[in-house]
Subunit: 437 residues, 4 copies
Amino acid sequence: MREAFPNIKKIKYEGADSRNPLAFKHYNADELVEGKPMKDHLRFACSYWHTMRGNGQEIFGFPTMLRPWEDWSTSIEMALKRVEVFFEFLEKVGIDYYCFHDRDVSPEGATLKESHQNFDIIAAELKKFQDATGKKLLWGTAQLFMHPRYMHGAGTSPNVEVFAFAAAQVKKAMEVTHELGGEGYVFWGGREGYQSLLNTDLKRELDHLAQFLKMAADYKREIGFTGQLMIEPKAKEPMKHQYDTDAATTLNFLRQYDLLKDYSLNLETNHAQLAGHTMQHDMEVAIAADALGSIDANMGDWQLGWDTDQFPTDLYITTHTMLGVLKMGGFTQGGLNFDSKVRRESFEPEDLFHAHIAGMDTFARGLKIAAKIRKDGRIAEFVKDRYSSWDGELGEKIERGEMNFRELEEIALEMGEVHTYKSGRQEYLETIFNESI
Amino acid sequence: MREAFPNIKKIKYEGADSRNPLAFKHYNADELVEGKPMKDHLRFACSYWHTMRGNGQEIFGFPTMLRPWEDWSTSIEMALKRVEVFFEFLEKVGIDYYCFHDRDVSPEGATLKESHQNFDIIAAELKKFQDATGKKLLWGTAQLFMHPRYMHGAGTSPNVEVFAFAAAQVKKAMEVTHELGGEGYVFWGGREGYQSLLNTDLKRELDHLAQFLKMAADYKREIGFTGQLMIEPKAKEPMKHQYDTDAATTLNFLRQYDLLKDYSLNLETNHAQLAGHTMQHDMEVAIAADALGSIDANMGDWQLGWDTDQFPTDLYITTHTMLGVLKMGGFTQGGLNFDSKVRRESFEPEDLFHAHIAGMDTFARGLKIAAKIRKDGRIAEFVKDRYSSWDGELGEKIERGEMNFRELEEIALEMGEVHTYKSGRQEYLETIFNESI
Amino acid sequence: MREAFPNIKKIKYEGADSRNPLAFKHYNADELVEGKPMKDHLRFACSYWHTMRGNGQEIFGFPTMLRPWEDWSTSIEMALKRVEVFFEFLEKVGIDYYCFHDRDVSPEGATLKESHQNFDIIAAELKKFQDATGKKLLWGTAQLFMHPRYMHGAGTSPNVEVFAFAAAQVKKAMEVTHELGGEGYVFWGGREGYQSLLNTDLKRELDHLAQFLKMAADYKREIGFTGQLMIEPKAKEPMKHQYDTDAATTLNFLRQYDLLKDYSLNLETNHAQLAGHTMQHDMEVAIAADALGSIDANMGDWQLGWDTDQFPTDLYITTHTMLGVLKMGGFTQGGLNFDSKVRRESFEPEDLFHAHIAGMDTFARGLKIAAKIRKDGRIAEFVKDRYSSWDGELGEKIERGEMNFRELEEIALEMGEVHTYKSGRQEYLETIFNESI
Amino acid sequence: MREAFPNIKKIKYEGADSRNPLAFKHYNADELVEGKPMKDHLRFACSYWHTMRGNGQEIFGFPTMLRPWEDWSTSIEMALKRVEVFFEFLEKVGIDYYCFHDRDVSPEGATLKESHQNFDIIAAELKKFQDATGKKLLWGTAQLFMHPRYMHGAGTSPNVEVFAFAAAQVKKAMEVTHELGGEGYVFWGGREGYQSLLNTDLKRELDHLAQFLKMAADYKREIGFTGQLMIEPKAKEPMKHQYDTDAATTLNFLRQYDLLKDYSLNLETNHAQLAGHTMQHDMEVAIAADALGSIDANMGDWQLGWDTDQFPTDLYITTHTMLGVLKMGGFTQGGLNFDSKVRRESFEPEDLFHAHIAGMDTFARGLKIAAKIRKDGRIAEFVKDRYSSWDGELGEKIERGEMNFRELEEIALEMGEVHTYKSGRQEYLETIFNESI
């Protein structure tokens, strides 16, 4: 095949002063930050669905994307051709990992068997290209939301046949992920929720979902898959309400059904926001539970109530994200998957490069700013000092669970009143933060 | 003391055709619904803070409320007089329960000891009036958010002295609640959260909060208090983010720290909404975890991003709430506490009656509509039928955990495709719902 | 052609006690309310796009709708067949009016000329069925948002060729609307806005839009079209921001460019909500400017940030809407167009009936409740009395513009302070409102 | 009086490398940007209400602020002392302008006359300090929202006496503003709106408000005040809905009542956001109408639904704001008023300095970045090029109003289809933007 992007060469790092639109100004893969190459901190992944299958269609608009290699069919030939284009893109944009849903790499067949067969053909092709290029699979997943059979849910469907069908689809997707050396497998429950509580048995649906995930964890062990299993929370859209609403809600579910030992979280910036949180918040919650597996890197629009999946170009968001990643000691099997799509109006192939460069450069800068803030140390020191009263004898006893209300009341009566307060200094801390940008 | 509401007599039930503004049109305390008197279904409580201490002040406005009995001081005399007025109000409006914070019934002293003493004086007066009138305490709580010492948190304060002080305050409030025969004790963590993650150690704060609640549960057992301990979730306001965000988040916290055996939830309609949920949703989540203790009955404004604490006058909200209460078999130690305040512009004493009548009548109607929907049975039957495929052999085996992915894949391959779907019929179900209004 | 809905007969009014799902319980077309038949108050219209072209597709899901008559093609034959089905539906559901976009009744051709020809064929068919059935066109419009050519706007496109193309499309749609006796023509500017201000010349775009609308008004006069021209506001979606944000914003635009004499507003419930308003509010704003032309009747979900276009089943919304309609003296050329779609999960043809019945019955009840509230008169009287101080000499002088600051200061100095306030009595008024439900 | 801030010296510019918390890193008053000193671009003003009267109180919390000079009384002596402290603060923080409400500088008296007298005393003191220091009044205003008499509105009160009283208060505030050489006078209608439409005559209230503003404009002319009159929009809070919702809504009102010749807009970042807009958007709308008078500089929290009035520390916000200001050619009588308050937890006097420094430095950087983006020119050029098709003959004829639908249809039929589209390149433009940060 001729090149899909004939006029675009491999994107290079040219430094902050370059005015070349098709060059990195900040992402320098092998540059060391805190002693580790940027690429190992960031572990960028490209999402197959947005990059290869995004066509610009939305509820009020027909497709817009120009993709010269596409016939927009669901043929196996087209599916194979897309693999080649995708690896050319990965190579040129300099991203080492990718993520996919079963159905965006390979077409759904008339029967499950046919779908499995299609998937095998494409999986072999992906394997071939992985081997040839050294690119790797960050995680795989099954698409359990587009097909009408899943309209009422997959693992939470009121129809037991749908549950069985979904199980079979996930089984296969796990197998292919395993074969391709995937470092993780993700469950995003886009249909696991409800449109109306009037027709929903919420408790029974959650019980079913737990059984589903238990079987998945069992199957992982059975086939010796060593990647991490992850749940990706989202509060709403497409459903009115989804069960894996946010980090805390998902952790509650995992704890309730004793699944926390088998699952961690794949957090997405735009999803955190739709749940009413900052990404920072949901990352803190996940990190505090030692359950942050990976990140879907994008950004939303604060004034829009749906998933805009924009490429991350806000330095505050990328810096806060990387502060969290550095704090937890970096990714092990996770990474930064660009679950981001070019705007419908950015319809040229070239825009795929502009957009990924935008995201990679903004994250590279976020990483460098985060490292600078950590090196500066003033914010961390402020926080440490803020809690220093807890480092004394009383604090330690409370933290060890060795005090009770009677003893604390005696101390409080003795004090009479608390006399020392410290300012929270939020404005000052925001200034220090800005100084590193 | 002369009457506080001299022109208002005890509010009576006069039926739907009455045009008397100071009469119930629907709340008929002893009328049986599903075989139980309305008052036992609803267990209304009046909140001392809004009814006696609400003055109409807000961030852009000075107090407006006319309260002829008030000198607006923090004297013990005034605090005692308020008790008398409050019980006159309870008597006239026909509400059997009430709820309070320590500091809205009795003034804060210069020292903790003085505050305790003040509280004892008022507690004795409350006891006296309870005995004289038969009114009861639904639940008590400690106000751990107004005083500057709690600006950074109480159980989550970075200052260990504040933690000790808060513990002493809660200990006392639990004791008084116990003495007054309270059926519950509530923790609303208005300051247990953060304004900025830049100065916050989220994990350490959560650990401290868990220790705090553990001590409270221990102390409950120690003093033999048999009321239920409850957490009241709220997502935000006053802080940017509060830890007890919503039902699921709070359950996650309780599970993580092994506190679920000791705590249930006190859910508030307006708080559920600020967290991005319907009250229905949060009730379903709590009921599914067998953890719905009590309800703060009010309503918010869907277009305002703060806690408006309006009296509940929306029949859809009250009906859905009562459907949930009936579904769980009714309250045991919980009830419907009107955590509702008259609008700042409804500043006359008479408005307190209009507002409570509005809330009580709307809930009485909600109860009757809910009972009608249950008797009608069409919605419940639809839901049962919707999941009927799960009642077969396959469904039962899955629910019992006796199936695995291999077996399900075989079944799915056999099927080839799922062929039967049922419509969700949302619009039809909404029509049936309306038919009972 | 055989019937599209063979098992469904014409929907009849059977009264509130009927349990027949396919009957009206409240909508009784000829029943008089305030001396006028219900059908003339409500003037229901059915939207061709949702009813005939809605397929259940959304961003995360493939089509779901079962439509036995459909081959889902864009052929003229299929387009003709849809007309027949549509009129069968109108007949059976008992709706007298309909609304359409050019492109949802007739397929886009390879050239504009071809599109015009297709449109003419379908227009003739629509005319034939109108004549045969007595059904009427409430309003027509051109679809200027689905086709990629309009991705950056139509009247506000940065490409002047697109502007010309859009003008030609609107010209034709106006002509067809005129031929079909349409009582109005609507402009919904789904693409007239921006995704990013970084690439947008807002002022120049608004100037172009004004020219566009000026030409449309000129053309209306030229062809003698006597229907009303209307703008339909929407704040966002599909774009980040649309220029016709809400009623007030659109009025500002119309005033600025001297277009208010030629245009009125077509308000939609769900759009008002996405702009942060209640429908009540936007109706008050439009009525105060004597500019409420027609209504798109639906409802949104307060917790979802996109246009859910649900059938209106909330009695508060329909009652408030009809209070507004009665207040302005009823529709002249406008009506209640169900810009509402069945949920994606309500995929059976039968659901189209359930949904329209739901909407029609809820509006019929809203009409009756509104009339009851008006007859009761207590709310209107309260409002009148609330402003009664303005009916005195001072108020009248101010209202006539005959007072100045000096004179008012003298009066105020004399008063010293305002001594009389009246309670707003919101809770009481909400109770009265509920009494009529 | 001894200094209020004895340990703080005049804040100096020390450059980006300084680690002195009490120094400017970017704001260098006399440094030229686009040929004009920074201070003349930015024209910072300090708001008296937040800086001198903010006590940290909120709906769930008592005051927290430590202000050693305060006795928290409403005495004239205290009011006089505050003036001295304020000018010490202005001097030390290096801000040349200030803004006030009548009632936050001088106490309300028992009668209007007394209030006037108090105000005169304080005005004289302000004058004295202005003369001594060279500080200037950016704008004055009357506080028409805190006092209970205004609970239902001031210019829109249902009580004509309240209207008269408000007029008298505004008259006096305009006089004092005039005496103090104020460059503007602002109307923020915090109570001009409604809590419930059930008790509101919206049309009559708007008519009254227009009369009020007309009299104000007349009085301005009468006394020869040459400052600009401005309306400050806010969508909600304290009321459910305020009439001056956003820029476009306010312009609509001004046009409707022929007041646009006399009034411009004072836009606030946080208010724009509460209305569902970016500040950028509302600035574009105001600038397009040549009606942007001045700016209230702060920022909100995207996830909180109330006015948080935070100091602006987001470089994107300040850069976009300054791009707008530079685009309109800079302020004439307007400026950047910090309508920003220190967090309740930043309670030390020192935090007032940290916060203002944060805001000033972030705006100084925003100004420099904006100038850099303009100098770079790539974004402006992209926009110009994007609309270049309009610069041809056809575009010019349309813009001049010389084309009609018939002529455009001919052109479109000739074209057949639009064949050229250009990508919107949003991601690329965002990258260019970031390059200047």
